[in-house]
């Protein structure tokens, strides 16, 4: 059976891609963010995952409001990046794992998660940036990937409790997959930030740090909050913490915290990074 090695959860903002493209990793503005990643890379080099199940939210590259799935799972041999509107350089395709994709789709639907399967799926910065940060400059990316996309564009959004349960079901699916593969969960999003409205620029450091603390020891803690509560506490885009919660839900049994970093701001966002290992 496949083995879940742990999870890496990180923030994403398009400006990170620009900073990488312009080699600004040592720039004083960016250094506290990029400095968080070497321990995560060292951990990955030690646990050697073959596949990343990457939980993220699309920002209007692959999905439009005409059809907006709450939960979508990629089932493509390759995932292509494309222009998100800003003309940034596009990255080469990422290799999928069709066997795990379809096993995941079958298992999730059997567990009453009515997901949307996608045999073509463009992946935006929320998918590409964690991979670029964790395996910088490696072409092709050394892990195969299975994207799991959670809607954070069109409200109503799935609740934190629902996302945690989705994570549990993803974990059970991976562990029941007849394969010798080692799988890492990646959760991409958050932490507190708000891009729209007069409240743009909203950050809640106190809540972010508490969320990060609880994610290891008591992940159900955050499920006490409704989506509306989370918007109020973390901002309209801070709800992307759902990606972290889903990834955490997929980890079986006891976990230990390997590494964490938190820095405000990158662009308009409070950035967080956590590495958790399945004990």
């Amino acid at each position: 059976m496949a083995t879940i090695v742990g999870s890496v959860t990180t923030s994403h903002v398009p400006a990170i891609g620009r900073a990488i493209a312009q080699n600004l990793q040592q720039d004083p503005y960016w250094q506290p963010f990029f400095a968080g990643f070497p321990p995560a890379r060292e951990w990955l080099a030690r646990v050697k995952p073959d596949i990343a199940v990457l939980i993220y939210n699309d920002h209007g590259l692959n999905f439009f409001l005409d059809k907006m799935p709450t939960f979508a799972v990629g089932a493509a041999a390759q995932y292509h990046n494309a222009d998100e509107g800003w003309g940034l350089p596009t990255l080469p395709p990422y290799v999928g794992d069709l066997d795990l994709s379809w096993h995941l789709i079958e298992s999730l639907v059997a567990e009453e998660f009515d997901i949307t399967s996608c045999q073509e799926m463009l992946v935006d910065h929320a998918f590409t940036l964690p991979l670029e940060l964790l395996w910088p400059g490696q072409r092709p990316c050394p892990v195969r990937t299975v994207p799991v996309c959670i809607n954070t564009v069109q409200f109503p959004l799935p609740s934190a409790a629902r996302c945690f349960k989705l994570g549990l079901a993803i974990g059970r699916a991976i562990e029941s997959w007849d394969s010798a593969a080692r799988v890492v969960l990646i959760g991409s999003g958050g932490l507190s930030h708000q891009l729209d409205g007069q409240r743009a620029g909203f950050i809640n450091k106190e809540f972010d740090l508490l969320f990060m603390e609880k994610l290891t020891s008591d992940p159900l803690w955050v499920t006490r909050y409704s989506i509306a509560d989370l918007v109020e506490l973390t901002g309209t885009q801070g709800v992307e913490l759902l990606m972290w919660l889903t990834a955490r839900g997929a980890l079986p049994g006891e976990v230990s915290l390997v590494h964490a970093n938190y820095h405000v701001p990158i662009s308009n966002t409070a950035s967080g990074l956590m590495v958790m290992e399945v004990v």
């Binding site: 903002v13 398009p14 400006a15 920002h59 209007g60 590259l61 439009f64 409001l65 005409d66 494309a82 222009d83 998100e84 509107g85 800003w86 003309g87 564009v153 069109q154 409200f155 109503p156 708000q194 891009l195 729209d196 409205g197 007069q198 409240r199 743009a200 620029g201 950050i203 450091k205 409704s226 509306a228 509560d229 918007v231 109020e232 309209t236 820095h263 405000v264 701001p265 662009s267 308009n268 409070a270």
Partner: protein, 117 residues
């Protein structure tokens, strides 16, 4: 719009719910098209004609002409698609944030740094 669910009001925040989605569909569809460089160029060549193509209403046309993000949100725009529109003019997220909160970009950046302390 009739709904049985009471809205949770948050100051300075418009949640992109069904009501906004209904109001803003044409505007968001146009902004979604700006993923394509060719469409961005076509818009810049003739803005009113491009707005016609997507059947924007008067409020949405005026909001597009004003480049005012709060007006675009009020016209049903969703920030993820509006970010593609703003990108045409080289506006980054901090400029968009500063514009909406009515302060300078420097003041907006300083407030973010302060929030991290």
């Amino acid at each position: 719009m009739k709904t049985s669910r009471a809205k949770h009001q948050i100051a300075g925040t418009t949640v992109f719910d069904g009501e906004q989605a209904r109001k803003g569909y044409a505007l968001n569809k146009m902004c979604f098209s700006f993923n394509s460089a060719q469409n961005r160029a076509e818009f810049l060549q003739d803005e009113p004609a491009y707005c016609d193509k997507y059947s924007l209403n008067d409020e949405q046309r005026a909001a597009i002409a004003s480049r005012d993000v709060l007006r675009l949100l009020a016209a049903g725009g969703n920030i993820y698609y509006l970010a593609k529109f703003a990108g045409i003019f080289g506006l980054d997220m901090q400029e968009i944030g500063a514009q909406q909160s009515g302060i300078s970009k420097d003041a907006f950046k300083a407030a973010l740094i302060e929030a991290g302390k």
